[in-house]
């Protein structure tokens, strides 16, 4: 292990550009792979269902981070774009009888287009002004989803979607979560890899250039206008995928699942995870999805015998949720990703701290 602490050398650029360099990195990767494979066999269906929601959130959070973290365009419209993806895929499957994978692919494209369209204000607006314009797109999309009866069943009930079929392979009731797990894991892995790849290339770098200094970016030949629109589209594509997966996984689509709170939760994921880091989006998706579940588990069990307390537990849970987020950012404003880096550094240089 001595070699690690003295530094890492590369003989070819190719090696240097690889995602992983050290033995430790490969070991960690192997552990993650083992855990991912073992999980569905170890967890009960409920736990697995939570993991499944986390995986969907991973896709969405990675997408949002492309826009907010990497391109520096704050978006409060995540919920709206999830809705676009979900409704598109749902409608294509149920009304146009497209096979699910195809309608999911279409949803990605349609959401990307919607993202580019609603991203147009970004060409004129900056910072918070843009953020609030995206909030406007959120409200408008949800309003349409709420008012347009075409997006509901005839009875007025939310659109329901048939159980997922891919070719001859069909999800069964008994193994519902288990089968979905593999599908969602696949999607999440692809999303994560694609995002990481993107930021190893010139295209991804131009996003970051626009974030850090858009005038200088223009002066070195980056078409800022185009880059912003592309960033909105790419990011929304990921979000559309997440939306479409939500639709098929929960087998029903209603605007009530895509409110402003969802936008905020996703924003929380990438901030708590770490802005401008693909891994951060993943950590954040886990953290923000699991936090209420754990709080419910732990706090929900407290104070059974104190009636005053019992009736207030849900509020206490919410309060703790808020506190944890605050505490987190006070301890490390740059998020979980940063904490993880610091832990690694600490171990690497141990016992020579500093």
């Amino acid at each position: 292990m001595a070699a690690i602490s003295t530094g890492v050398y590369f003989r070819t650029y190719q090696r240097e550009l690889a995602l992983r360099h050290t033995k430790a990195q490969y070991v960690r990767l192997a552990l993650v792979v083992v855990a991912a494979i073992a999980a569905p066999y170890l967890l009960d269906p409920y736990q697995l269902s939570i993991l499944n929601t986390v995986l969907i959130a991973v896709v969405g959070a990675v997408g949002l981070n492309i826009l907010v973290g990497f391109t520096g365009q704050i978006s409060l419209g995540q919920g709206g774009f999830l809705a676009v993806g979900a409704f598109t895929s749902g409608l294509l499957t149920m009304r146009a009888d497209l096979p699910a994978p195809l309608s999911i692919a279409c949803a990605v494209v349609v959401t990307a287009a919607a993202g580019a369209l609603f991203g147009l204000p970004a060409l004129r607006l900056k910072g918070l002004y843009l953020a609030i314009a995206t909030l406007a797109s959120q409200e408008i999309i949800v309003f349409i989803a709420r008012r347009w009866s075409f997006l509901r069943e005839e009875s007025g009930a939310p659109l329901s979607i048939e159980r997922l079929k891919v070719g001859g392979y069909e999800i069964t009731r008994e193994y519902f979560e288990f089968q979905w797990y593999w599908i969602l894991l696949g999607c999440a892995v692809v999303a994560v890899l694609a995002a990481r790849n993107l930021f190893r290339t010139g295209l991804g770098r131009s996003f970051m250039a626009v974030r850090d200094q858009d005038i200088a970016a223009a002066a070195i030949g980056v078409n800022v206008t185009r880059t912003k629109v592309v960033a909105f589209a790419v990011s929304s594509g990921f979000v559309g995928l997440a939306g479409a997966l939500t639709a098929h996984y929960s087998e029903t689509v209603t605007w009530e699942s895509f409110t402003f709170e969802i936008s905020i939760l996703y924003l929380a994921m990438i901030i708590v995870g770490g802005l401008g880091s693909v891994a951060g989006a993943v950590y954040g998706a886990f953290f923000i999805t699991l936090l209420p579940v754990f709080l419910n588990e732990f706090i929900g069990g407290l104070g059974e015998d104190v009636p005053w307390l019992v009736s207030r537990l849900p509020a206490i849970e919410n309060a703790v949720f808020g506190l944890v987020i605050i505490a987190f950012l006070l301890i490390e404003p740059r998020g979980l990703d940063r904490i993880w880096q610091r832990m690694k550094d600490y171990v690497r240089f141990w016992p020579f701290r500093y």
Binding site: Y129, E139, A268
Partner: protein, 290 residues
Amino acid sequence: MNQFLNLTIYGLSEGAILALAALGFVLIYKSTSVINFAQGEFLLIGGYTVYAAFVVFKLPLVLAVVVGLVFAVVMGLLIERFVLRPLVGESAISVIMVTIGLAAFLRAVVQMIFGTRPVSQPALLPRTPVEVLGTTIPLNRILVIAIAGVVLTAFTLFFRRSRHGIAMRAVADDQQAALTMGISVRKIFAMAWALAAVSALVAGVLLGDITSVSGNLVSFGLLVFPVVILGGLDSVPGTIVGGLVIGLTAQYVSGYWDPGLAQIVPYLVLIAILMVRPYGIFGETRIERV
């Protein structure tokens, strides 16, 4: 005509309260560049503190309002000291997130103490119907406009006339440079948060009185965004114009057109205005010089 007048007065009274709520938001943004997502919760807390002092502890109204103001100042200071100050110098978006956490926390605390039912509070302002140019309007709506007007004017004058106004803007531009001028960044921050809490308290109490003191008070918080963006994020007069524009359009749309649409009309107005003026009506253009 009757109807128009009626809608106008309702719109104005609501716009005035919105302006107050937005004012606090702008003060914080102006001096600390923090987007306060907990502004709606400040209203909520304002409404409930005065309720608690007035109804639960049975203090005379004037005293209850004073208690509320003191409480607001203290809350503002505490939040600044323990939540925001450690984050000075961190990226704006981390700070935004903290205020989101703060919002969840404050809302939950109010629920913990007061539950989820609206509480009943006797009318603070008289609701007597009055006849104005042939339409009947409750007196409290008119009083709300007057009170909000007085408070807004006071705030505007304070920032126009005093060097603190310039100090606040200086801090927002460059904290380090402000320090080298002997401007205590902490004190400015503390002042901004305390004043924001105070203006939110006034807004919360007025709103609670014309509607009811309940968890719904926070929903006003979201509307603050179109208001401040419309007026310009860093402009005190902007909040007034923004508040009135949003208040009135929402009212007219719901009166003459589709009430459901009134919910998104503020956003449509907002986008339309931003396309013409990307920094709102009175907002400062961000300086980008190389």
